[in-house]
């Protein structure tokens, strides 16, 4: 099979998942703003409208990947060998059920009620979007130019996907074989299941064509960023965020194709945008809470850090709604929407794979007898973080600080504490690493921190010049 043919088949798989995801996520992402949002928008002369088509595409892809993984698991559970046709059939069934069950009201299907703000010269927004598109194109060509080769792809993400595809099963061996001690048996499975599903469309394990998943996720991330900020802030803010995220070369590089980082960045953007929508919207809008739940599930099924992020997001949301009209049952809805899917996913994964030791961490360091070792280890880790920041990221860090000084709060402000808190917990994790903490930091810190950057641009670009 030629590469072009294999790519076309993966594209069919992604398009099928996105179409089914669009149908299923339609009740959550379609519909215009609530009455309160319309009044607030008119009062503040701000652009609040229905989710943009770009955001709807991003939500559709995320929902579609989850649906496709569920369809694959259903086929495996039934002992049926997955194929592109069978997966499409199940996806079509889900889509038709969703389309029949949900008929949008005439009013809610109306397009934007308030014209979004331009926010600056049109040529500037167009140029920034052009930069984002060019950077995305370079990343796409780079990642499709060779079979995926990242260490984490070979050791577990791709390896598990290949095993699932080739055996048409989720073998117990993946969770129990001591020879696979390095394969992170505790990790979530959405990336391996997505790769295995797309391989079923190709009809073989074609690791060059399967890399198409990554440009698709990167595109959805940029669409979600630009669409959300255009809706909530201005067109220029959206274009700026898309350009900044697309130029994040530590994240969008061929070396990350095959890992979970790029889909994970998409999940963080969706969760953050849903959280801002929830904080800003009418508390009686259940579709926003459902969006939170969907994003939470997407985060948790991609990486363990995803569960941490949604829990921190829930804490930020809780801090924000204290003292507002969203206290009580309605306020709790948002928190439950964030926490429950992550918890439910963990329980399902636990049932599937049993109790797994986390070889990355030495939890005995939390025992009282070893507490005195922790400060020195934490200082070592923090020192390494500072050194990396000083030698490799000083200019962007200073630029961000200056930007915060010359701008005023935006809609993304309540989420700001989530990002340093997430990095703090990374420091805690490295502190209790089973390996040399410095070795672990050098191997993973840049990569896992950079996955936060696209979501962070939501906070950054929602701010306005004083």
């Amino acid at each position: 099979m030629t590469v072009a043919e294999a790519l076309a088949r993966v594209l069919v798989g992604l398009a099928g998942a996105t179409a089914a995801g669009w149908a299923v996520s339609r009740p959550l992402v379609s519909g215009g703003p609530t009455r309160r949002e319309r009044v607030a928008a008119l009062t503040r002369r701000e652009g609040v409208a229905a989710l943009t088509r770009r955001e709807q595409f991003a939500w559709a892809l995320a929902t579609g990947l989850l649906l496709q993984a569920i369809a694959l698991l259903l086929l495996l559970a039934a002992g049926i060998r997955p194929s592109g046709f069978r997966l499409l059939l199940l996806e079509a069934l889900a889509a038709m059920t969703a389309l029949l069950a949900y008929r949008p009201e005439r009013e809610s299907s109306r397009a934007a009620l308030v014209e979004s703000r331009i926010g600056g010269p049109r040529w500037l927004s167009a140029t920034l979007l052009g930069v984002a598109a060019a950077a995305w194109l370079v990343f796409s060509l780079e990642s499709l130019g060779d079979g995926m080769w990242a260490t984490d792809f070979l050791a577990f993400w791709g390896y598990k996907g290949k095993i699932v595809y080739l055996t048409s099963a989720l073998p117990r061996r993946l969770f129990q074989d001591p020879a696979l001690y390095f394969a992170h048996r505790e990790y979530p499975l959405l990336v391996p299941l997505s790769l295995a599903s797309l391989a079923a469309f190709v009809g073989s394990w074609h690791d060059e064509a399967l890399a198409l998943l990554y440009p698709a996720c990167a595109l959805a991330t940029l669409c979600a960023l630009s669409g959300f900020l255009e809706r909530r802030v201005s067109r220029l803010a959206g274009a700026s965020a898309a350009a900044l995220a697309a130029l994040c070369a530590f994240l969008y590089k061929a070396g990350n194709a095959g890992t979970a980082e790029i889909p994970f960045a998409l999940s963080l953007v969706l969760a953050s945008s849903a959280a801002i929508d929830w904080l800003e919207s009418d508390s009686a809008a259940p579709r926003v809470a459902w969006r939170l739940a969907l994003a939470s599930l997407f985060c948790a099924t991609l990486k363990q850090e995803g569960s941490l992020f949604v829990l921190l997001l829930a804490a930020a949301v809780w801090l924000r709604i204290r003292g507002t009209g969203k206290r009580g049952l309605l306020g709790a809805t948002g928190l439950v929407a964030l926490a429950a899917p992550a918890l439910a996913h963990w329980l399902v994964l636990f049932a599937l794979r049993g109790n797994q030791t986390r070889r990355d961490f030495d939890f005995t360091l939390f025992a009282p007898a070893r507490w005195r070792e922790l400060p020195a280890l934490f200082a070592l880790v923090a020192g390494r973080f500072v050194r990396i920041g000083w030698t490799e990221a000083l200019v962007p860090i200073v630029a961000i600080v200056v930007f915060f000084l010359v701008t005023r709060r935006g809609v993304g402000e309540p989420l700001l504490p989530v990002f340093p808190a997430q990095v703090f917990f990374y420091a805690v994790a490295f502190t209790v690493s089973s390996f040399d903490p410095l070795y672990a930091i050098d191997g993973a810190f840049r990569r896992i921190t950079m996955t936060l950057f696209p979501a962070f641009t939501l906070v950054l670009c929602s701010r306005e010049i004083r």
Partner: protein, 91 residues
């Protein structure tokens, strides 16, 4: 890019892949240099869905493939690019 650390290792794995049945009930012990880890990861990935194990589990193996190590000097193996291959009679 996947074999930047040792380009000839690809030919070795391809030959093992060609000679050993592609079934899940076959265990292949691949004896490779200890570092970088990529030797082991590539062997696992390339030879899937077979069960690939390291030297410490070689007693469980149906096939032993050695590459670039002293362990490849034993008698009776078949020479393959960059190494040796021993096939144990099925028990």
């Amino acid at each position: 890019m996947g074999f930047w650390f040792d380009a000839p290792f690809l030919a070795f794995l391809d030959e093992v892949d060609r000679r050993v049945p592609k079934t899940t009930d076959v265990t292949v012990a691949v004896l490779v240099p200890r570092s970088p880890d990529l030797y082991r990861f590539q062997a696992n990935y390339r030879l899937a869905p077979r069960r690939v194990v390291e030297e410490r589990w070689k007693d469980e193996a149906d096939v032993i493939a050695t590459y670039g190590t002293e362990a490849g000097r034993g008698p009776g193996g078949e020479a393959i690019p960059g190494g040796q291959l021993w096939v144990r009679p099925r028990r």
